[in-house]
Symmetry: C2
């Protein structure tokens, strides 16, 4: 007890020290700032709002940026704010477009950050940007690490060494860093294990077992970039803090099919495996993209989602969310002891895509209001108890 201050040495979380590190960027200083730092991060923000609550929000955003700057003080990264009204000219010159986004200038490229604006997420993101955009895979253990990363879009190429084809691959990788992961190997055995021919590049969609092979060998930077742009919306994609708003904005005609599942939970894991099966069976359907959210990754949003979507997140769920109305329909999984099979899930998804299940259906809406009322009950009983018959008897075939 009395050792507290000694033993906590080594685990001291930083808090803002009050020193201003974030620059106000304007026409006079932007060029100098770009030159001075290895990397410059500019927050493009709305003009000082009249509304008090939004004023405070903007202040909090600035504080997050200040703390990030403080934590990364030794990394030669500059931070600045650009007001979309007062600094409209600079913003135009720099190509800033989306209010609330952070733009990172590194060498001759610009990376847009459109994720959770917290110091945690930002610091991790910026440290990733500092790393090499291509990771080399050179032994069986690293290969196993590569094969385990099923949640991410990954490209891997086999090259002789740092030759011109590798360079093209590397240039392409810089355009997607750190969102899409690029790997390379110069090792014959590794290439053989992956069935990669010399100068060939494979594209792994998240959760798919087999990669797509990029057409042609000796690929140019633009050929790789084009291919990635065409394939980057995955059939099953996990919501990640670092690009959550971008993912959310990339909707399917105003809706998202959203699945909630905690991977750490046996029930959630099981549901996720079923979901992966469905995604694998339907990977060629360009209309289908399911957003998987692991509530464990977003503790602060969990109860908000429960309220907004009127759904119980103590167990797995899948539903359709209408982004304009935040109206939604959830697949009813309360009647069964078991989760749906892959076939049942596919039938439901077909109904969603054909419009048979949609968020304008009144009966469905009623259904999940009913559902909401039993959430508390359900939570206390858990999923594996026999006694949840009390809310099983409402009919939802309507």
């Amino acid at each position: 007890l009395h050792f507290l201050h000694i033993v906590d040495q080594g685990l001291e979380f930083p808090s803002f020290d009050g020193k201003d590190r974030v620059l106000h960027i304007n026409e006079r200083n932007y060029k100098k700032a770009l030159k001075r730092f290895d990397m410059l991060c500019l927050l493009y923000h709305e003009p000082q709002p009249a509304h008090k609550g939004r004023q405070k929000q903007l202040q909090m955003t600035e504080l997050v940026l200040e703390l990030t700057a403080q934590v990364l003080e030794d990394k030669d990264i500059g931070f600045g704010m650009v007001d979309s009204q007062k600094d409209a000219k600079v913003a135009k010159k720099l190509g800033l477009e989306e209010e609330g986004s952070l733009y990172i200038f590194k060498d001759d490229r610009v990376i847009e950050f459109d994720g959770e604006f917290s110091a945690d997420t930002l610091v991790e993101f910026l440290l990733d940007v500092l790393e090499d955009p291509v990771e080399l895979i050179s032994n069986p253990m690293e290969l196993r690490a590569f094969e385990r990363m099923e949640e991410d879009i990954r490209l891997i190429g086999y090259f002789k060494g740092e030759d011109s084809y590798y360079k093209a691959f590397q240039e392409a990788s810089e355009r997607f860093q750190p969102y899409i992961k690029f790997f390379a190997t110069f090792d014959k055995a590794t290439a053989k294990h992956l069935s990669l021919k010399m100068n060939e590049v494979n594209f792994y969609e998240p959760f798919m077992e087999e990669p797509a092979i990029l057409p042609g060998r000796q690929l140019s930077e633009m050929e790789i970039v084009e291919f990635v742009h065409q394939h980057k919306r995955a059939t099953l994609r996990k919501l990640r803090a670092e690009d959550m708003f971008e993912t959310w904005e990339d909707d399917l005609d105003g809706i998202h099919i959203v699945a909630f599942a905690e991977e750490e939970d046996p029930d959630g894991y099981e549901f996720l495996e079923i979901l992966k099966d469905v995604a694998r069976d339907n990977t060629n359907n360009p209309e289908l993209s399911i957003v998987w959210i692991d509530p464990d990754d977003f503790p602060l949003l969990t109860t908000y989602w429960e309220k907004t979507f009127k759904v119980n997140l103590f167990k797995p769920q899948i539903g359709v969310v209408n982004l304009c109305s935040t109206c939604c329909v959830w697949l009813d999984m309360s009647n069964d002891e078991d989760l749906p099979t892959a076939e049942e899930l596919e039938d439901w998804i077909e109904d969603v895509l054909s419009g048979k299940v949609n968020t304008e259906d009144d009966d469905d809406v009623k259904d999940y209001y009913d559902y909401d009322e039993v959430d508390r009950e359900d939570r206390h009983h858990g999923d594996n108890h026999e006694d949840h018959g009390d809310y099983d008897d409402h009919d939802d075939s309507g």
Copy 2:
């Protein structure tokens, strides 16, 4: 762009709404508060400090508690603060001991939270406490989920059903919730797969392949509790936000062997696999407990650790940290292209345990100062490049 406010619907992070929800707990109101809520969370804090910086820190802590209370508003959880000086009497009655800890009163037990004091971590922790303390495993997919959780201490028991032996197991689980995970199965096939006999309980140490079998069948609550207390310091334990300070305080005579490795990184993954091998070989050595830190889990601490420990965290590291002086020695892995083998790592650990490698060695201290100066260089080159000879030539056999 102009759709921003529409499409962000569904992803709104909460910010504190200004409404006070955290109670000041004192002698007059504590009993009422305990009765009123399903769960009561009390922050036991130091008296109002004179120092400005610490005053602000206490304020920030209170804000975190307020935001947590706001997010969990519908969950029937009460929140309060107890001043260790002004409310000393209440604190004594309630058994609060460690300043800075949060105590959770649920039914007739008290759970101490001694982790990262952020709203994220707290909310996730409290949601975990709301769940059932025992999870049932009833099919092969859930079993696979169970088998994948190698990072956590897990117990699993096989019971006929919710009989008295299961009840004892459940009572024991409540004493460790949510830090140690308890599972049960009523399913013969699942039990068979785990080689569990009826009323038997297995204890899985993190990263070990084979479980320990609790001696005796038809175990009482106390027998289970005793066993867990005796075995809960694992040979390899991962630092987790929810109990990081507790783990850190549970040192080995003032030192920790600390390993940094990013599991998501091929290099880090490889190093971690070696580390697991070493831990498996030495699981019976009570003197050995390695703390594994994945820097990805603690972005705000990464640069702080780099400074405090004078070590480059863009690649895997293992070292000895002296908690009194935060002095440390790191295993030199810069001379080789390859990571150490399990044997080399074991030799080094033996040297640590025998005192041959220790933090009082001046030469070693000099070594990592040298090391620090090349960090930046190293970072830009990455690990897999051939051209890091520039700092390979200093000799550290000293």
